[in-house]
């Protein structure tokens, strides 16, 4: 008997480390104090639920085995007991209070966004994030962050396509411009949106905050150690909801200062460089989502039958359609940040392919 129990507990103990950091079976390894509190809270409640499950369903299993007609058991006829009803109402109630107490403390801590070291605004767009560094070191930095995984990799279903996908380490979780923050500082994130409701979520931080158009919400985190942390939009926002990830790169204070000065230098050259992005570049980044697939009635790239009548309407008309939007197409194809000249270059590119 004793050795049986010893073997059981050894098995549990061997399993436990797997449970502790098994990113496949449990919450991601926490990287902030709040994430750690959430992780521990979940472990506590899960264990309580497991114990209750074993007790209750152990009892039920016992009854199923022993109190069956085939085993010869005769049915008793008792059918009420007020004491027992009171006991099994009060005991769960007490267990719930035990869970609610630590949870309450964590809720209050999560809400306290006061005295941050810096503030970054995250704006949800259909379908990418825009970041504006509002206060603290890096103030004034502003950029968009879009999915970097190429569309062809997502839709390629040949054998090599599958292989290339498996080899892409951060498939669907990589962006062109990650959010860079210093470690150990309290970062306040303000969320809002441009169009529909999105949600800014980084599991390793224990942070999820809806981004609501016309409203401003906030949350905060403080990253323990340097690293790259990835999350996704967590509120259905249209067809590319699964394709607008979040990447946060936490770096040491010195590296952060370096990054800030690089960004400031880039901002000055950006204005000049804006013209460098050509029509094909804009098409590949912005237009392909609809014009590559024909979604929402978009005339497909290279479809001469669809483009013929449109080309006949004249270049200026097509420019206006692209800039102002037409039918299901939003103005500038949903990229309001792009200068008119680049949109026109993309239209030229599409027209040329449709001739």
């Amino acid at each position: 008997m004793i050795s049986q129990w010893a073997r059981f507990w050894v098995a549990v103990a061997a399993f436990a480390p797997a449970l502790a950091s098994a990113d496949r079976y449990n919450l991601q390894t926490p990287q902030t104090p709040i994430a750690r509190e959430i992780y521990d809270l979940h472990t506590l409640i899960l264990l309580i639920c497991c114990v209750i499950f074993v007790v209750v369903f152990g009892t039920m299993t016992y009854a199923i085995i022993k109190h069956r007609k085939a085993a010869g058991h005769k049915a008793e006829q008792f059918h009420e007991n007020t004491t027992v009803e009171i006991v099994w109402t009060i005991i769960p109630f007490i267990i719930l209070i035990g869970m609610a107490y630590p949870a309450t403390k964590t809720v209050i801590q999560m809400k306290d966004t006061s005295s941050p070291d810096m503030t970054i605004k995250a704006t949800g767009y259909q379908w990418k994030w825009g970041y504006d560094y509002l206060t603290g070191e890096g103030q004034g930095i502003s950029f968009f962050s879009s999915l970097a995984t190429p569309r062809e990799l997502i839709t390629d279903n040949s054998a090599e396509g599958h292989k290339k996908r498996e080899a892409q380490a951060h498939y669907l979780l990589e962006v062109d411009n990650p959010v860079v923050v210093p470690v150990g500082k309290k970062i306040r994130i303000i969320t809002t949106a441009n169009d529909v409701i999105h949600s800014w979520w980084v599991p390793a931080f224990g942070v999820k905050q809806d981004a609501i158009p016309g409203f401003v919400r906030d949350t905060w985190f403080k990253v323990d150690k340097p690293g790259i942390y990835r999350g996704q939009c967590a509120e259905l926002c249209g067809k590319e909801h699964g394709f607008m990830p979040i990447v946060v790169e936490a770096v040491e204070a010195g590296k952060y200062t370096q990054w800030v000065s690089e960004q400031n230098k880039k901002a000055l050259t950006n204005v000049a460089a804006a013209g460098a992005l050509d029509g094909k570049g804009v098409y590949d980044k912005v237009c392909v989502a609809c014009h590559g697939t024909g979604a929402a009635g978009a005339p497909k790239f290279g479809d001469k039958a669809a483009w013929g009548p449109r080309i006949k309407q004249g270049q200026d008309t097509l420019y206006q359609h692209a800039l102002k939007g037409i039918r299901a197409m939003p103005p500038k194809g949903g990229a309001p940040d792009l200068p008119d000249a680049q949109i026109k270059a993309a239209v030229d590119y599409l027209m040329a392919a449709g001739k």
């Binding site: 990113d23 496949r24 449990n26 919450l27 959430i38 809270l41 979940h42 409640i45 209750v56 369903f57 009892t59 009854a63 199923i64 109190h67 069956r68 007609k69 058991h73 049915a75 008793e76 006829q77 059918h79 007991n81 009803e85 099994w88 109402t89 109630f93 869970m99 609610a100 949870a103 809720v107 809400k111 997502i154 839709t155 599958h162 996908r165 498996e166 892409q168 498939y171 979780l173 169009d195 529909v196 409701i197 979520w201 224990g206 999820k208 905050q209 809806d210 158009p213 016309g214 409203f215 919400r217 906030d218 967590a234 259905l236 926002c237 067809k239 909801h241 699964g242 979604a295 929402a296």
Partner: protein, 529 residues
Amino acid sequence: MDAAHAHDHAHGHDDHAHHPSGLMRWITTTNHKDIGTLYLIFACTMFFVGGVLALGIRAELFQPGLQFWRPDFFNELTTMHGLIMVFGAIMPAFVGFANWQIPMMIGAPDMAFARMNNWSFWLLPPAATLLVASFFVPGGAPAAGWTIYAPLSTQMGPGMDLGIFALHIMGASSIMGSINIITTILNMRAPGMTMMKMPLFVWTWLITAYLLIAVMPVLAGAVTMVLTDRHFGTNFFNAAGGGDPVMFQHIFWFFGHPEVYIMILPAFGIISQVIPAFARKPLFGYSSMVYATASIAILSFIVWAHHMFTVGMPAAGQLFFMYATMLIAVPTGVKVFNWIATMWKGSMTFETPMLFACGFIFVFSMGGFTGLILAITPVDIQLQDTYYVVAHFHYVLVAGSLFAIFAGTYFWIPKWTGHMYDETLGKWHFWLSMIFFNVTFFPMHFLGLAGMPRRIPDYALQFADFNMVASIGAFGFGLSQLLFVIGVYKCIKGGEKAAQKPWEGADTLEWTLPSPPPYHSFETPPTVK
């Protein structure tokens, strides 16, 4: 249908033989049994339509990459799967049970408003047609999730309008049905049947009907505001016009949370009939069960914002809704304990209804535990909008509501048709469903914990293996349901003749009627001691 012909042959006295036969019979019927049958067949059909949509979803999610559908069509699949299963399968199935069982269980000849009953049913096929037709209009079916949050829902094409009209019509059907059920239960019980002597299934439907009347109009309000925002220049949910997108969520979930209890309370009622019958022992704690059901229903009105923990409400709001939600675990636990106490020291046999009932208790409770975990706000912040939530609600809705529907069908179909169902087929249906259900949905807990969001057609590589397992399970589960359809069809057509009381431990009034029962169940009311 053969069930009806069996009625006529078994009771040669039938002086209503002049009621229409064939198609007109089914269109004009005011008979609670016929209408119950219509609801059940409608629900079964919609279940398979919704199931095919689910297989479309799981086919795409079998592997990373986009293999089959464009992302916008994928969103149509997830949305329509939800809408069809909730409004087309589960809710009508329970109304079908209500129609068949309530008059017989209270000793009444029929429902109070027999003609309105017909109208309640016949609203549904046109509503379902509108809803499914939305796939074929420009822009496709609604693709904003079954929760159709604004402002996304205000962006969608005409399919969303069709969906809104379908919801209005189905809501009207539910409200009329509920008025009927309440009036019948309060006014037409046999002499001697006090409220506290009613079968628990009748209690759960009485309470469910009040919930329906309270909240379906709220849903109607929410979707009408979406409609006017879309077409008539209002700005209820448009911040730029002075409105509030979050208000949609409040209004929707004020309906939505009682809605999920509407989908589970009748299931509790069915299980409360099946377990005592197969344990050959009275239901333990009858009054507690009634009070627990009523408590769950009342509490269901004050927990709605637990679906909204991430919208940015103040901490006081999060705490209130966390505490209120956790509280529901108490009466729910009381019910589970009472069912087990009913089984305790009984004399159980495990025919198919009892298998599904016991399976229900195991697997629904797992869903209840994940619900409790989700109730804890800080944990919910991590799990909201992930596959953990998908796992939770499929555990309570499939292993909960659907398994209870199966239990009730196998339990009562001998009464309805006069034939015993094929027990071997029933057992296969149970075990395959149980196994494939868990293969499909258990891994989703891990996916959610590991960080996979909901409503995405493609996913990062670390989620690949559990998605593959879930997809295999889903196809297995779907195929297993064919066994149910085959079994039910065989039973309607023929099979071993069913006794008046085929279940030794059953003791409610319907078992005092022949199998199948006469066209008008109790022409003279029985006296209940």
